[in-house]
Amino acid sequence: MQVPAPFDYERASSVDHALRLLDQHGEDARLIAGGHSLLPMMKLRLVRPNVVIDINDCVDLDYIIEDRDVLRIGALTRHATLLASDTVARLAPMITDAERVIADPVVRNRGTIGGSLCQADPGEDLTTVCDAMFADIVIRGRDGPRTIPMADFHRGPYETAVEPDEMLTEIRIPLRPGAGSAYEKVERRVGDWAIAAVGAVVWMDNGTIDDVGIGLTAVGLEGVATRAQDAVRGHAPDDDLYAQAGRLAASQSDPIDDQRGSAAYKRHLTAELTSRALRRAVERSQGR
């Protein structure tokens, strides 16, 4: 049995309580929700928080709300809830696609969207989803909430804009007409982190791609694939356009050789999956 280094445990009954505990215990404290990333890292003694603050009682952060032109998702919403949500499937099928290939049912039953985003693993799927959908992130500190775009949230591998005395509370996904989205992932085995994955959303207007978001997973690109987006925006979709977008997305990727595959293969996958994700996104926007 792997055993973490000694730590103390606190249980927060509300967001305010959690924030007070964070303030009290300083920067070596960690929030825990699902714990499926934090606990393994603690057991391997790669992470040694002095205090673990359990926020599973903050049930008011567990929600999915369609609020006019925004899809609001509470940070404590479990992967399984997102996967099962008809609202999510209707408004943002990219999330449903991604949830279907995140880990396994055991992890999905416990893990949360807020935890995934804050862990900020480079192979993490929902970061890509939020990048591509231009989500806004609501972060609360003792002075109240602040909202930042996803582009400012993710600061690199395992780093986010959330300060040690703050917590992420909500993900806001803008809703616009004509949308279609999809997430395409290749993994070595079901439940594994992505070798590479691509999330794409298109907003169609009169047969033309009015706007587009493309995010890449595990291939060394922070934020969105701007070159591919620029090439696609304003054009009517066809196979050549998808292929061109794929090439440009690959050109912005910077993958490394590892056990999951060679850099060349991952660049190829980036192109292939960008192309596939765009096609499916367009098809979905057209109700196909």
Binding site: M1, Q2, R189, I195, Q259, H268
Partner: protein, 814 residues
């Protein structure tokens, strides 16, 4: 009369739910980590972070000062007790705790005993070890280079990393056949290092009683009796003062055959502290330090006539054994049973040379249901036959059919000296092809390939091909494999482990009320012994299986034998149980004759009762006889009371199960992802004792095979760091990677086994990896791929395709 399920339960062989399952299903299994003894302490092992390094100093002061720590043991503490090194199953030596150098990442350096497992782990961080880091030997291909770092400088006079050279077959005769052959195909292939990764990791709970001098050792072992002897030799405790108990075992697959340093540390910890000490490794420790499997680097050659008559196979193997030669196999077989690399074919010549080398990696090599390296041998020959089929442009099933050993050639003597006992190979292959619908599959493949050619490969990018029809855009491959296993080791004249002959004993006792107990020397790890062995007794004595208690895994309660590995339980111990039961029956006949006042020769046996010939109503059941055997009436002259017997079975030969497999895969050309669409397995394990258990064994082995073919590999970086040290990085297949298995069978009993059973535990693990790989190469062949090494990960498949592609533009979708 309606038949209730209860009445369908066989008294003897037949489908029967496992007797042990209710306790596992209800969470009532008793695994090592479930055992708690009064006053028990917990041990933890400090392991080397580097692959090769000289130990400069070990400072345990801080750890000893930890309030919950009872003892800290290092190699220096073990040296005066002569316990710092121990013999391996291959008669090499292995460090229990390193004294001079560490030789692989994860090697055992110090042992902490503490009040609880948390404190034990915490205290590991308080031990400070200084290493002088040395260059490691990671690639076995460079282990014998001039100037390669010397790993085993502990061995007197050792100047290189060479362990052994072993050869079999006739090199000159083989050369002659090759020189004259029309066609010769040669291929280098690597059977990568994998790991059995049983769900339960390894552990031990040692309880040394200083007053009685008795050591009770609970261990995760597949071979409790062999371990008792080894521990007596290592620890110097008299063998009669050692009791090894192997409780419920959560999977072994060969991983639980060796004696590990942790077991010895737990014993020393208990002696030092006077308390029971439990040591249970975690998942990473299991993956980085315990017995791995394979790591065979093979060059195969096959010679044939131009019309497809296979003449000879020749192979050269480099075997990576890690830092200590700790493979568990019969002493005279340093390369295990690799000598059966001639496969299932009637050859004119064969030759093989194996060189074993040390590297700075964990020791092991024989594990993971490999049947003493038959996995490697069958992989080699089955890939070579497929390569030859491609070279000759001949269907691989047809090529096999032409060259299989024929039924009238049994017993068949191979070119490497093995005597295959029995088989009808063509029948098994025909059946597999029929179940698979082989001709239809080939037709479907041809049509697909035609459509893909017509679709204009590479004209407009993936979109076009993708929409050419769902699966239609995928590359379809059909793999055929045939294997012959050699299990049930073995005749003691040829086969021993550390001098212990590979025979097994059993005892059967029938209680006065007709219920029985059978005691085994072998140890189940999930194979279903409590059911299978009860069924063997039931078949011989007519006592219902539920009335027979199967006792195993406790050296104080069971007779001596070498344990469960190499699919030997049914071939060896199963034979012992059948013969013991027959001895009981012979005695029952004498008693029944007395009871019925007839001559023993006037009795006839039908399952469960003796009756007088010609007077079937004059009969005594086995329960009647059992009561009489223990009763107050006189027994016939010369017959002792009670109804029991004991046998030690020394197998006259191995048994040779075999099978024919067919696999269908679909490969996404654009992503390199392989989907196993179908898998057909026709197995012949001789007499089938419990078909449900056989099917379960086959299912498990097939899943293992798919895992090896597609994803499993223990990898190292250039510094010798193991980069597959968790289930995040060492992938085992899940239900979603495997198809619904299609199993079928033929039955060719072993002529020399008392009940004709051959063993089946490792058949599917042996037969499935080459079948999957043959399917993958079959799919990629039109794209110019001739061979691909396991595991066929998406990346590796894509790279194989692109090594032969005209436009290797990685980023190009067009």
């Amino acid at each position: 009369m309606t038949t209730t399920p209860e009445q369908e339960r066989p008294i003897g062989f037949g489908r029967l739910k496992r007797k042990e399952d209710p306790r596992f299903i209800r969470g009532q299994g008793n695994y090592l980590d479930d055992i708690v003894l009064p006053g028990m302490l917990h041990g933890a092992i400090l392991r080397s972070p580097v692959a090769h390094g000289r130990i400069v100093s070990i400072d345990t002061t801080e750890a000893v000062a930890h309030p919950k720590v009872r003892a800290v043991i290092t190699g220096a503490d073990l040296e005066p007790l002569n316990l710092a090194w121990m013999p391996t199953m291959s008669a090499d030596t292995q460090a229990v705790l390193a004294t001079d150098k560490v030789r692989f990442q994860g090697q055992e350096v110090a042992f902490v005993v503490a009040d609880d497992r948390y404190a034990a782990r915490d205290a590991l961080e308080l031990i400070h070890v200084e290493y002088d880091i040395l260059d490691p030997v990671v690639d076995p291909n460079h282990a014998l280079d001039d100037g390669a770092p010397l790993i085993r400088d502990d061995l007197d006079g050792k100047t290189d990393n060479h362990i052994f050279d072993w050869e079999t077959g006739d090199a000159e005769a083989c050369d002659r056949v090759f020189d004259a052959a029309d066609v010769v195909v040669r291929q280098h292939m690597v059977y990568p290092r994998s790991h059995p990764a049983p769900l339960e990791t390894c552990g031990a709970l040692a309880d040394y009683n200083a007053v009685t001098g008795k050591l009770t050792l609970y261990e995760t072992t597949q071979a409790p009796h062999a371990h008792r002897t080894v521990i007596a030799l290592v620890a110097g405790i008299p063998e009669h003062k050692i009791r090894v108990i192997s409780p419920d075992i959560g999977g072994g697959f060969g991983n639980k055959v060796p004696v590990y340093p942790g077991y010895v540390c737990a014993i020393v910890g208990s002696i030092v502290t006077g308390k029971p000490v439990k040591w249970m490794e975690d998942r990473s420790e299991n993956l980085i330090s315990t017995g791995f499997a394979r790591d065979y680097h093979m060059t195969g050659e096959i010679a044939a006539t131009s019309d497809g008559r296979i003449l000879a196979v020749r192979t050269d193997v480099l075997a990576d054994h890690g830092a200590f030669n700790a493979t568990a196999q019969p002493s005279k077989y340093p390369a295990g049973f690799f000598g059966v690399f001639t496969g299932s074919y009637d050859l004119q010549a064969a030759y093989c040379k194996v060189t074993g080398v040390y590297t700075n990696k964990a020791p092991g090599g024989v594990a993971y249901a490999c049947s003493f390296r038959i996995t490697e041998a069958v992989y080699l020959v089955e890939r070579m036959v497929d390569l030859l089929a491609h070279e000759l442009d001949m269907d691989p099933a047809e090529l096999r059919m032409r060259n299989l050993i024929q039924p009238d050639q049994f017993p068949y003597h191979t070119q490497t000296g093995w005597e295959y006992d029995s088989g009808d190979y063509p029948a098994a292959l025909r059946k597999a092809l029929e179940v698979a619908g082989y001709d239809d599959l080939r037709r479907e493949q041809a049509e697909r390939r035609e459509r893909q050619r017509a679709g204009g490969r590479g004209s407009t990018g993936e979109g076009e091909r993708q929409r050419a029809g769902g699966r239609g855009s995928k590359l379809m491959g059909i793999g055929v494999g045939f294997f012959t296993e050699a299990v049930g080791a073995g005749p003691r004249r040829h086969m021993d482990i550390l001098g212990l002959g590979m025979a097994d004993s059993s005892e059967v006792r029938v209680h006065p009320t007709g219920k029985a107990v059978v005691r085994l020397s072998v140890q189940t790890q999930g194979q279903g012994h409590e059911t299978t062995f009860a069924q063997i007794v039931a078949e011989e004595l007519g006592i219902p299986p539920e009335d027979i208690d199967v006792v195993h895994g406790d050296t104080d309660q069971t007779p001596f034998g070498l344990g469960t590995y190499g699919s030997r339980s049914t071939p060896v111990s199963g034979a012992a149980v059948a013969l013991t039961s027959r001895k009981v029956r012979d005695k029952a006949r004498l008693i029944a004759a007395g009871m019925l006042e007839v001559s023993p020769d006037d009795l006839e046996w039908e399952k469960g009762r003796f009756s007088v010939k010609g007077d079937p109503d004059s009969a005594k059941t086995i329960a009647d006889i059992a009561m009489a055997a223990h009763g107050a009436e006189d027994l016939p002259d010369g017959v002792e009371g009670s109804l029991e017997a004991q046998t030690t079975y020394n197998p006259p030969n191995l048994t040779y199960p075999f099978g024919a497999y067919v696999c269908v895969v679909d490969i996404d050309e654009a992503t390199g992802e392989t989907t196993v669409r179908r898998f057909v397995a026709v197995d012949d394990c001789g007499t089938r004792i419990n078909p449900m258990i056989i099917e379960g064994q086959v299912h498990g082995g097939l899943a293992d095979g798919v895992g090896m073919a597609l994803m499993q590999s223990i990898d190292f970086d250039e510094f010798g760091n193991c980069v597959s040290s968790s289930f995040m990085d060492y992938l085992v297949p899940t239900a979603l990677e495997v198809p619904d298995w299609e199993t079928d069978f033929t039955v060719t009993p072993s002529p020399h086994h008392p009940i004709g059973a051959k063993g089946v535990g490792e058949s599917a693990t042996v037969g499935s990896p080459p079948t999957v790989m043959n399917a993958i190469v079959d799919a990629l062949y039109p794209r110019g791929v001739r061979h691909i090494d396991m595991p066929a990960t998406p990346s590796r498949v894509w790279e194989a395709l692109h090594a032969h592609s005209e436009s290797p533009d990685a980023a190009g979708g067009s």
